[in-house]
Amino acid sequence: MSQYRVSGRGRVDTSRPVTFTFDGKRFTGAQGDTVASALLANGVHLMGRSFKYHRPRGAVAAGSEEPNALIGTRRGPGRFEPNTRATVQEIWNGLETNSQNKYPSLKFDVGAVNDAAYMLFSAGFYYKTFMWPKNFWHKVYEPFIRAAAGLGVSPTEEDPDHYASRYLHCDVLIVGAGPTGIAAARAAAVDGLKVVLVDENAEAGGTLLSEPQAQIDGRPAWDWLAAELEALKAAGVKIMTRTTAIGYYHQNMIGMVEKLTDHLPELPEDTPRERMWRVRAKQVVLAQGALEKPLVFHGNDRPGVMLAGSAQTYLNRYGVLVGKRPVIVTSHDSAWFAAFDLQDAGAQVQAIVDLREGVHEALLSEARARGITVKLSHTATATSGRLRVSSLRVNPVSGGSVGAGEEIRCDAVLMSGGWTPSLHLFSHTKGSLAWDDDRTTFLPKDTPEDCLIAGASRGLWGVEAVLKDGAEKGREVAELLGKTPAQVAYSVAGDRTGTGISMKELPTDRSPGKAKAFVDYQNDVTAKDLRLAVREGMRSIEHVKRYTTNGMATDQGKMSNINGLNIAADALGKKQPQVGLTTFRPPYTPTSFGAFAGYHRGDHFEVTRKTQIDAWAEENGAVFEPVSQWRRAWYFPKAGEDMDAAVARECAATRKSVGIFDASTLGKIEVVGPDAVEFMNRMYTNPWTKLGVGKCRYGLLLGDDGYIRDDGVIGRLGQDKFHVTTTTGGAARVMNMMEDYLQTEWPDLNVWLTSTTEQWSTVALNGPNAAKLLAPLVEGVELTEETFPHMSCVECTVAGMPARLFRVSFTGEIGFEVNVPAPMGRQLWETLWEAGQQYGITAYGTETMHVLRAEKGYIIVGQDTDGTVTPYDAGMGWAVGKKKPDFVGMRGLARPDLRAKNRKQLVGLLTEDQSKLEEGAQIVFDPKQPVPMTMVGHVTSSYDTGTTGRPIALALVEGGHEKLGETVYIPMPDRTIAAKITSTIFVDPENARLKI
C-alpha cells in the first residue's frame, strides 16, 4: 500500500495494482485511480510548471476543472496527447505520462527565471514589453512569445485512432449524474419517456462519490447510489459516463463527447477513441453542480495547496490522503467537513483557519471533539516551501486591520472560497443570469430553450435539497411532455449543509503589489494584475479578461471567473453585475480535433464523386484532378510523357482525327411541363420559344445582378421537355436557384425540374472523324450535315443502348455527346474505344478540353468569369434575347455600371516573346508608370501547348473590346511581358471545322 493510501477508504480497487510512468519514473496506483490520485497516493504533488512564470504546480482540484496538473499522455506511436488533465486521465498498465513546460526537468526548470522577473510580466505585458525597440519584434519578441505561448507540445505524428459520431434523439437529456441528475432521471423516466443521463466522470454519482457518510432513505449513500442506478437502467434510462456535454446549441441540440478507449490498457478493434454525440432532446435538465473557488492569497499556487472539497474527494473516492498534516483555510462551512474527514482518516489537521468571525456551534464542537485548533477571523498571507508547501502564514484580522503573522507547519493547505454554480451550458442557451448578493454569485434566470436547471447549479446546497429539486425538475419535464409522474420524497441523514461568504483577495499585512496571489492558475493571472488592469482604464470585465488573460486558458475560467470579477468590481468600486460576467463558450472542457472531425478523415474526409468511366481512366493511367466534389481525368500520360507532352498529343490527335472525353459530370436537369418553354425564357438570357424540337442552343444563366452564373447547351426533346446541361461545379447550385424561383416567384408555372445528372453517363467524341466513328453505331438518325446538323439532339439508340444524342462541340471540331443510362456508361465508352481504334482514337482529359475550348474562345464559367462579368463583358451579347420581356438578370444588366464602356472585357492575349503567361497575372497599360501601378485586368486562362503553335491566353482587360491590336504589359517578379490584345478565337474563326 502506498504511503498516502488509506485502507478501507475510496472506491478504487487496491487489490488490482496498476503501473504507469510519470516523467519516466514508474509508479503504482490502484484500479480506478486517475493519474493525479495515483501520484498523490505516492506523495507526489508536483505535476507541472505554470504557463508564464514556470512556477511549480500540483493538482489543485480533483476533476475536469483542474488548471494546473496538465500532462502529456502517450500510448505508442502517434498516440500522444498534450494538456490532458491528470485529474481526469484514468491509469492503466503501461500508460506513459509526462509533465509539461519544463526544461531541463520538472524539479529544476530554467524558465522559472520568469518568476523572478515577474514584475515585467504584469497585466498587458504583451502590449507593453514588446513595443520597443521596433526591430526586436521579428528576431527576439515574436520567437519568444511563440516559444512561450501554449502549454505542452503539439503532436507531430499522424493520429492512428478512429473517431466517431452519432445522432441521438430523446425526450429528456439530463446533464450531470450527481444526486440532482439521478433524482431528475428517476422522476422523468415514466410512461416510456426516453431519458438519457450523461456524466463526464468515469462513474455516475457526482458528489455522492465524495460523501459516503450520507444516508439516503436509510441507506448508506453508496448503497443507495448502486441501487438507484440499477433502478434507472431497469426503467430504460440510458446512462452515459465518460461523456461530456460540451455545448448547448439552438433548439435543444447538445453536443457531447464520449471517451471510449483512453482508460483501457488494450485498444479493442474497430472501436473509436472518441465519439461526438449530436443530441436533440425535447427537454433538458442541467444538473452540472457547483465548482469550488480557491482563496486568493500570496503563494496560493504552491504544490500541496488545493481545494478542500477536492481533498475530500481524493480521500473518499480514491482513498488518498493529500497530506498528513494539512491546514484548512476557508470562508465556507464545507471545508470544515473536509477537515473532519481527513482527521478521521488519520491525518493531523494543524488548524482550521476561517476568515469569518463566527461559524455554527455544531462545527466548532465537532472540531473540539477532534482536538483541532480553530482560528476564526484569520487570514492567510503566505505559504512557503520550494516544490511543496511546508508552512502557511496566518494572521488575525480585527476591525479591518491585519495583526502579526504566525507560521503553521503543514504538508498541505486545503482551501475553500465557497462554491460557484456551474452555469456553462445554461449560458450557452443565451440564458440570462441574476446576481445573488447573499451568495455573491450569479444564478440562472431565464432561458429561451426547453431547459430547466436544478440542484447546486442553481445555488442549492446539501444532498437532500438537491435530490428534492432534481425530482421536482424531473417531474416538471415529464409533465411538459404530457406524462403524469409520481411524487418521490427523499430523506437524508448525515447531510452536510452549510453556508459561507465570498472573498476578494485575502487581507494581508504585506505589500499587495508584491503578492503572488493567483486568480487564474493556468494563465498565471494574479489579483495585482486585475487591479492594474482597472487602474490602466479597463472598465468592463470583458476588457479586463482580455488585458490580463484571466479566464482565457483551456479551463475557461472555471475557478477564476468569479474571484476575478469580485476583485475587478472592488477595484472599480461597483457591484459585480455592473461590471458583468464574461461569456461562457463551448466546449465546456477541451475537446480533441478528432472528436470534431469524426469519420471525416483520410479517404472519408469528403465525398469523392466518380463517374462510371472513372475506373477505365484509372486503368489507363489517367492523372486526376478534383472538380468540385468530382474527381475527373486530367490527362492520360503515356510512358515518359509529362503533362505538357500528354496534353499536346491529346490536343493534336483530337484536331487531327478523333478524341474521346468523359463528360458525365456535367449537370443535367430535365425540365418538363406545359410551361417549360416559358420557364426557360425566364431563367436564361436566350430566347427559347422558337427553338425547334430536336434542336439545341447554348444557354447563359445570370444572377439577378446581371452577372454570368452558369452556362450549358440545352436541347429541346419535346414541345414540353428540355434537357438542360450545366457546368460540373454548378449543377446543384443551378438546380437550387431554379427551384427557388419556381417555388417563390413563379408558383403559377406548370413545370417541374428533375436532376438527371446521374441518370446519364455522357461520352463526348470530337474531331474530324467523330461522325465517321459514331455513324455505324447509331440507329434512328443519320449523322449527316443535312439530317443532323450542328446543334441537333435526338433520342435514339447507340450501340444498342437507349441514348440521347447531341451534336455539340466544345472544341471547335465536329462533336457529339452521347448520353446513355449511367450504368451503361463504361460499356458505351469501351464500344466507342474499340470502334475508334481504326481512327487512332485518343482519350483526353480536362486539361486538353480546356486548351481546345480556349483556342475557340469558349469561356469557362468561374475561370474566365468571376461573378462580376456580364454577357457583354464576355463578348456574348448575342446570347441575350433582345425582344424578351424579362429574364433573370435583365434588370441588373440595365444598371448604368453594367453598361459602362470601360468595363473589363474578355479578350485574347498573345505574348510578344512567345512565353506563357501566368493565370491570375495582373495587367497594366503603361509599364513605366510609378508603383503602385494601375491594374487594368488579369489573365484568366493561359496555355502553352495546343494546336496553334504558340501560347495563348484569355484575359479581362478594361475596355478590351475597343483595344484589339494594342499592347498591354504584364509585370512579373523578374521581368515585364508585353502582349497583344486579340480576338478570343485563335482557331477556325469561320467554324468551318464544325461541318461534316
Binding site: 479517404d603 462510371q612 418538363v672 406548370n750
Partner: protein, 184 residues
C-alpha cells in the same frame, strides 16, 4: 474504402453481427411530379397515390413513396417502366405532369439486422424512430441526400445517387464494424 460504384455487385457487401449491407438488384425508378386532381394518376397506376409525405402505396410490384407536396418516387420491375410511362403519356394532355426515368441515377443498399436502425444514426440527423415500418423519407446520410425506405423494424432500403454511393457505403461499413465491436 472508396471503391468505384461500378465495382459493386448485387449481394452482401458488408456483414457483421450488427447489420448486413447488400446492393439491391437493378430496378426501374421513376420520379413523378404532379398536382391538382390526382384521380387520373391513381387510375393510370391502378392504386391511389399516397397522400401524406412519407406514406407508401404498392400495386403489382410497383411501390410508390410520397417525398414532397407534389413529388413521388416509384420503383417497379424494369419491364413495367415503359408501361407506366405509356399510361402516363396518355393522360399528359389533360393532366400535365412530369414523369422522368431515374433508373440509372441511383443504387439501393439493403440494410438489415438487429442494429440496422442504430447504424443509420451514424449519419442521419433525423430521428429514425419517426420513420415507421412501411414508410419512407427523403433525408440525408453523412451529408448525402438519400431516400430511406423502412420495410420492417430492422430492415431498410437506402437509395443513393451513384457517385455518392461509395462514400455512403464506406461509412455503413465502418459503422457495421463499430456497432459489432460495441455489442461484444
Amino acid at each position: 474504402m472508396n471503391a468505384p460504384v461500378s465495382s459493386f455487385t448485387s449481394g452482401a457487401l458488408v456483414e457483421t453481427s450488427a447489420a448486413r449491407i447488400s446492393k439491391a438488384p437493378a430496378i426501374g425508378r421513376l420520379s413523378l411530379r404532379a398536382r391538382g386532381d390526382l384521380a387520373p394518376f391513381d387510375a393510370a397506376l391502378g392504386v391511389g397515390l399516397p397522400l401524406s409525405i412519407g406514406q407508401r402505396a404498392s400495386v403489382d410490384g410497383t411501390e410508390i413513396l410520397r417525398l414532397g407536396p407534389d413529388e413521388w418516387t416509384l420503383t417497379t420491375p424494369v419491364p413495367r417502366t415503359a408501361q407506366i410511362e405509356a399510361a402516363f403519356a396518355e393522360i399528359y394532355e389533360a393532366h400535365p405532369h412530369s414523369l422522368v426515368d431515374i433508373s440509372g441515377r441511383e443504387v439501393t443498399f439493403e440494410i438489415e439486422g438487429a442494429q440496422a436502425a442504430e447504424l443509420l444514426t451514424l449519419g442521419c440527423p433525423r430521428d429514425i424512430e419517426t420513420i415507421l415500418p412501411g414508410q419512407g423519407r427523403r433525408t440525408v446520410f453523412d451529408g448525402v441526400t438519400v431516400v430511406l425506405w423502412r420495410d420492417a423494424e430492422d430492415r431498410f432500403r437506402m437509395d443513393v445517387w451513384q457517385s455518392f454511393a461509395p462514400h455512403v457505403l464506406a461509412l455503413l461499413d465502418t459503422g457495421c464494424r463499430e456497432l459489432a465491436a460495441q455489442s461484444h
